[in-house]
Symmetry: C2
Subunit: 491 residues, 2 copies
């Protein structure tokens, strides 16, 4: 089918957009900034959902569902939250349309104006804490460990499929605790769950850390995050977990009777990941020929292509192919037998490469004679011809090997593109010439952070949790610093 | 804990509302008409979703996701669709809030008015068929069998938890076919899937039929439905499947090159069920003491309550109880060991009755001596003391028995409350005095149907698909009719 993607070196951004659309992940819709997630892309999101949902349940959480709409006044209740979230959002002002009396189609009925406007949720802390008020009376009602799978809307001016869309899908956990310590423990537990998921399922190594005050979630006392490095040297935030202190409990007056009989405000956390992870998955591993998917999340793990001439060969190969498909399927491997008769094997190979199918099998007449089969890995393109007798074990091993190899490759890339510097001029040069994670000393002030952001477009991605303690001097002001922080330009 | 519900006979409607709230299914939210689905209720919805999703996939469908917002103009493209759906809906007119210059909190920024208003989807035919235009070129792209799990909004004036809410959760299937016959076959296949789900999972017998033209989905040529009878003799529509003909393909110009090389319009279906099924499940089976849940959908299938005095007994019973829990869990049964130490066994019994747990086990000191255990069914309240040695098999059998019994009970109720009449006066009397399904002859005209609706508030619920063909006369006009249709007052 020929080259269908712009090369990464040529135009990384165009490569990504081409890939998302042509590999049937998602597409732009008729609504500005809103995407359509296509079946092949959605199948990956479903696998992500199922995996994360199990992880949340294994850590004691339950799911619930809260309203899509939030009364405008709710956003004013938590002072810093309103600044962060109530600005660029979709506002529902009316509840009825009517036929234009002048016959020009349908118009908004001016008589159906809402008394108070409703905001389409950009995040649900306010409506959820307003609900928790009636759910929490005593320490026996705590901890309350609730998650929600939902769509949210943030009115973005510049959008990109999966990475920044006006509407996106996500999960948001909202937990309530009796003590500060327990809430912090929960915040850390969930960033660890996200780390586990990113590394062992997405096959993306991540830096775990806390955000600088500037980059914190609006309303949080501390924001934990995981940060990944994409192939163009830009960082992508993959998940956040917030310790909210008693801010929302105070804003919505949620108190509980403690074991000792006191009336205290409840402690809160919230944490979320979104369809942005689809963008991370696509960008972290793929190449100029298409997606490279980790086997654990690939909707199709193995594709089998028959190669034949004439009807006799076809019949024989279809029978043999179906047998192989059944054998692999019985082992829990997701197999597609591509027996289409209207395109060539070469066309099929290119299409499955584009779609990132981890393993491709090809079965031809000579294989039938020799009891062999051709096996090609998508990640390394390594080609082998093996005996059909060992196929099942071979493919099972490949699933593990490819998963590990993709991770190792991404890890090596990150290591090769993480650099320490103590010099601000070098820092600027690196950002342009060898972008990646840059570890540098920072004096801990908002002023310096903003100066750096303004001058270089780089932000502090995180202050690593287990970062080495070392004395140093801020690369900008020369003031003392006890630990390097991680800078990068980011998505 | 004493009686917590209003009795059904006293006030059926209040009983339902009490039950939904007190059994932790759902609650009203701060947003008019929008509900919060609480964790216990959401766990049932998750089981429904998982079951239906598997049924859809087993019949060849895939999931995708389309935008929450639909441009206003899209609704005008299909003439009858706009009448049905574009009226009572949430309209997004602005995309930004700002601080009130007079310091009175936040206000809608008048400068951030959308050029074209966006409607929060009440159903997605228009945005999906607008997308299908770019997905479908040739007969090789067909059939396209797509489902979406989503939230939708219809601005309802009178709302009731689960039964009629402004926002609700649902699935909507939208399929595209090369021929009329294939689309009709799909429409019928999906109403059969819904029937299977209602009867074998919800344990609710349903009538399967087609809607009269008056009650059809806006934009459909034929609407298939399943109708259930609630305990107050009112009908509840539980699912619909629509044959849309070429209406949406024509409205959005979706054509395909046929095998013969012609350019034809595509044939369409859509089908959906919603969180309304939660209302059906609750209303169909429950009693004055609480929910009665079919085991296949119960989040907790078995509750085990230890009965003890003093710490020594407690220790012994906790150990034995955990062992029993593990034995049952190992058999795939969902068990809750209610070892709370702050409430009495009687309190626990009442609470689990309220929540509809199918089987309750109680374990006391005498049971420990005798190797016995007390087993109580929620549906019949039958109490037995059995040997612990046969407990696992006994409980497994009970799961099947209770599921079947609940269905049979609902079926008998429906049979007892389905009556034929040929007399319009008797028809009116029945509606008031013995409400239920009424089978009567109708002349097939819209005028008669509307007259009956106006005079009695009863509607034609469906024209049964496999209904007996019999000559008769319309009970209102005396005109000839070939088949009885099913009337009822409905939710």
């Amino acid at each position: 089918m020929g080259k269908v993607l712009t090369g990464r070196k040529e135009n990384y951004s165009q490569w990504y957009n081409d890939l998302v659309v042509k590999a049937d992940m998602a597409d732009n819709s008729a609504v500005r900034g809103c995407m359509v997630i296509k079946p092949y892309g959605y199948a990956i999101w479903e696998k992500m959902q199922a995996t994360l949902d199990k992880m949340f349940k294994d850590t004691g959480h339950v799911n619930a569902y809260f309203p899509l709409f939030i009364p405008k006044s709710f956003f004013s209740k938590e002072a810093s939250h309103v600044e962060g979230f109530a600005k660029e959002c979709a506002v529902v002002t009316h509840y009825r349309l009517k036929n234009d009396p002048n016959g020009k189609g349908i118009i908004v009925d001016p008589e159906a104006k809402l008394e108070e406007e409703l905001i389409v949720r950009p995040t649900s802390e306010t409506i959820i804490w307003n609900t928790y008020k009636s759910w929490i009376q005593s320490y026996r009602d705590l901890p309350l460990l609730v998650n929600q799978w939902a769509n949210v809307v943030r009115w973005e001016m510049r959008t990109r499929l999966f990475l920044r869309t006006t509407e996106f899908l996500w999960q948001e956990g909202h937990t309530a605790h009796a003590t500060k310590e327990e809430a912090i423990e929960e915040t850390e537990k969930m960033v660890n769950v996200y780390t586990d998921f990113a590394e062992n399922w997405l096959a993306i190594p991540v830096l775990k850390g806390i955000k600088s005050p500037n980059e914190r979630f609006a309303g949080a006392l501390e924001t934990y995050c995981i940060e990944a490095l994409m192939q163009d040297g830009k960082a992508l935030q993959c998940g956040t977990s917030h310790f909210l202190g008693q801010n929302f409990a105070k804003a919505f007056d949620v108190k509980f009777a403690s074991r000792e009989g006191n009336l205290d405000y409840v402690w809160a956390t919230s944490w979320g990941v979104s369809t942005r992870l689809m963008g991370a998955l696509i960008m972290a591993h793929s190449d100029d020929d298409g997606l490279i998917l980790p086997p654990k999340l690939a909707p199709i793990q193995v594709v089998l292509v028959p190669i034949y001439k004439g009807t006799d060969q076809m019949q024989e190969l279809l029978a043999a192919g179906n047998k192989i498909k059944d054998m692999l399927t019985a082992q829990g491997i997701s197999v597609k037998f591509d027996d289409r008769d209207n395109c060539s094997p070469g066309f099929k190979f290119a299409e499955h490469e584009l779609k990132g199918v981890p393993v491709r099998l090809a079965l031809g007449p000579r294989d039938m004679q020799n009891n062999t089969i051709e096996v090609v890995r998508r990640d390394t393109r390594e080609k082998q011809t093996i005996s059909q007798d060992v196929l099942v074990d071979h493919v099972k091993n490949l699933m593990t090997e490819i998963q590990a190899n993709i991770y190792q490759k991404a890890l090596k890339f990150r290591e090769d593109n993480t650099i320490e510097t103590d010099n601000y001029e070098e820092f600027k040069k690196l950002l342009d010439e060898k972008p990646g994670f840059i570890k540098a000393h920072w004096d801990g002030t908002q002023e310096t952070e903003e100066k750096i952001k303004e001058e270089t477009k780089a932000t502090i991605r995180c202050i690593p949790i287990d970062g080495k303690q070392e004395e140093g001097k801020c690369m900008v002001t020369g003031k003392p610093s006890k630990q390097r922080v991680v800078f990068a330009r980011a998505y």
